[in-house]
């Protein structure tokens, strides 16, 4: 199984604060990699670097075997690298359908069209319908986003990302603030989407991560403590000391 993404030796400082130090790991094709660690461990910073929103001070990224450090966030997206954000980032004034269509049109290469390309636009619309139908959302799609519940918004948030047909999907705490049932439905949508999609999942809920992920990387104070299958991570003494233990104590 080849690696979709290789992160090698990435470091990032903000002033005197070392957000990331020499972070190295890879994401394999089709796998779901969990990324856990306490608050401030650098998980979101790492996402920002992978997706090009931030530049690393040192180290590099390879995506599909190719160095991508010079690519803008938009170019990385066009190569199938898609992320979500910690808080829900939907378009509140638009309808559900329009929210998802925003991504579907971009995927179809007609995101900035003004006239023409009717066939591709139609295909994008169809894709939106299909995504809404498959999601199990009991919504027609004509509702304004701001009228939806938080859980539904997070699901639409995910559907927006899926409409881009990602090769690598980076999910930043998609289940935060959701009830157990909603969180599971959301993960189910991810898993059923496409077996070839690799997923990196940040989540606070240990059960979810250990249940849903093929491998897990543990980040603490900007460093990778351990990376491996759930069993390996569970057995790792340093993880236990730094993270799991602390959780267990609290």
């Amino acid at each position: 199984m080849s690696a979709v993404l290789e992160v090698s030796g990435v470091s990032k400082r903000f002033g005197a604060f070392r957000a990331l130090t020499d972070v190295t790991f890879d994401v394999r094709e089709g796998e779901t990699l969990g990324l856990i660690g306490p608050n401030g461990a650098g998980k979101t910073t790492l996402f920002n670097i992978i997706t090009g929103f931030l530049r690393p001070d040192a180290g590099g990224l390879h995506y599909g075997g190719e160095a991508i450090d010079h690519l803008s966030p938009e170019r990385r997206v066009s190569r199938g690298m898609v992320r979500t954000f910690q808080k829900s980032m939907v378009f509140p004034e638009l309808t559900v359908r329009e929210n998802i269509a925003m991504a579907a049109r971009q995927r179809a290469g007609v995101g900035l069209r003004w006239g023409g390309a009717q066939r591709r636009l139609g295909a994008a619309e169809a894709r939106v319908h299909q995504l809404i139908g498959d999601s199990g959302l009991r919504r027609s799609g004509g509702e304004r986003m701001s009228d939806l519940s938080y859980g539904e918004q997070r699901i639409v948030d995910l559907l927006i990302s899926l409409a881009l047909e990602p090769r690598l999907l980076l999910l930043d705490e998609p289940t935060a603030g959701l009830a157990q049932e909603e969180a599971e439905r959301l993960l189910q949508i991810v898993r059923h989407h496409d077996a070839r999609t690799s997923v990196v999942l940040i989540a606070h809920d240990i059960d979810i991560v250990f249940g849903a992920c093929d491998r897990i990387a543990v980040l603490n104070l900007g460093q990778v403590l351990c990376c491996g299958t759930p069993e390996v991570v569970r057995a790792d003494a340093s993880v236990r000391a730094a993270y799991l233990g602390a959780l267990a104590d609290s």
Binding site: F14, T44, N48, F53, F85, Q86
Partner: protein, 289 residues
């Protein structure tokens, strides 16, 4: 040599004036994230007060505290309604509300003070001149330089170096947290706005000797202040001071070297500056996501 020194002093005095006009605007923007385009009106009101005070024969230096208090009072009234309801609104709505108010105030002041250009008779001690290597430089401008940077210093200490300043900043950053400490954040925010309005008035009183007072000055001053604050980078006090110097020197030396094209040169310089540093000279670090 004397020529160069005096031109530098000219630039410094204009920078001081810019700094004075921009301080109040910068304070509300940096501490409360509130854009007050009615700031020019506070300035002009302060200028009118100074003109009438100097003419009244009362002790001249009292004009400045009086201008401060009068405009602070106006600020306090406006704070209750309608500013307070707009602190949490978008910048666009704040811009629209306060710009609309400035249009109203402009016409009210024209109504009250007339359309004539009024100019204060400067008090005796400020009328002098010093000669630097045979080149004249007015004492009043030295006074402006001194007061401008002195006021900036006081504000810096007050807001950056005292507990009160910390409370203000904390009230903006995390309102709930400060309120659990038993501090009424609404009053803190009111106090900042009142301070800012007072600063507008006192700068108007100080600047009246240079810019005079007439309908339309409010808008001219507002633009100068806004450019200064924005070039400095929104929401940083250091940036405003730096930017007042940069803009002041740019405007002054473009007048020295290219008097005919002074505005084009200065505007272009500022536009290029904003292009190179899209978040201003001193950009606050903000986490985006």
């Amino acid at each position: 040599m004397g020529y160069a020194i005096v031109q530098v002093l000219n630039a410094l005095s204009f920078s001081a004036l810019l700094l004075l006009t921009a301080l109040g605007l910068s304070v509300v923007l940096s501490l409360m994230n509130f854009i007050n385009l009615a700031h020019g009106s506070f300035y002009l009101l302060g200028s009118y007060i100074a003109v009438f005070w100097f003419a009244s024969g009362a002790p001249w230096w009292l004009a400045f505290p009086v201008a401060f208090l009068a405009t602070a009072l106006a600020g306090a009234l406006l704070e209750r309604f309608p500013f307070r309801g707009f602190y949490a609104r978008t910048h666009l709505m704040q811009v629209l509300l306060t710009y609309g108010l400035s249009v109203v105030f402009a016409d009210l002041m024209r109504w009250g003070f007339g359309a004539q250009i009024l100019s204060p008779e400067l008090p005796e001690p400020l009328q002098g001149v010093v000669f630097l290597l045979d080149m004249p430089f007015p004492v009043y401008r030295l006074f402006l330089i001194g007061v401008g940077f002195f006021l900036a210093g006081i504000l810096w200490v007050l807001l950056d170096r005292t507990l009160w300043g910390a409370v203000v900043r904390a009230s903006v950053a995390d309102r709930g947290m400060v309120e659990t400490l038993g501090i009424d954040t609404r009053r803190v925010l009111s106090a900042v706005l009142v301070l800012s309005a007072g600063l507008g008035g006192v700068s108007g009183a100080l600047g009246a000797g240079m810019l005079a007072a007439y309908p339309g000055l409010d808008e001219e001053v507002l633009i100068l202040a806004l450019v200064t604050v924005v070039v400095g980078g929104l929401g940083t006090f250091r940036g405003t001071v730096l930017s007042a110097l940069v803009v002041g020197f740019a405007l002054t030396f473009s007048k020295v070297w290219f008097p005919e094209f002074a505005n084009v040169v200065a505007f272009s310089a500022m536009a290029v500056l904003l292009l190179l540093r899209p978040a201003g000279l001193v950009a606050p670090r903000l986490r985006q996501v």
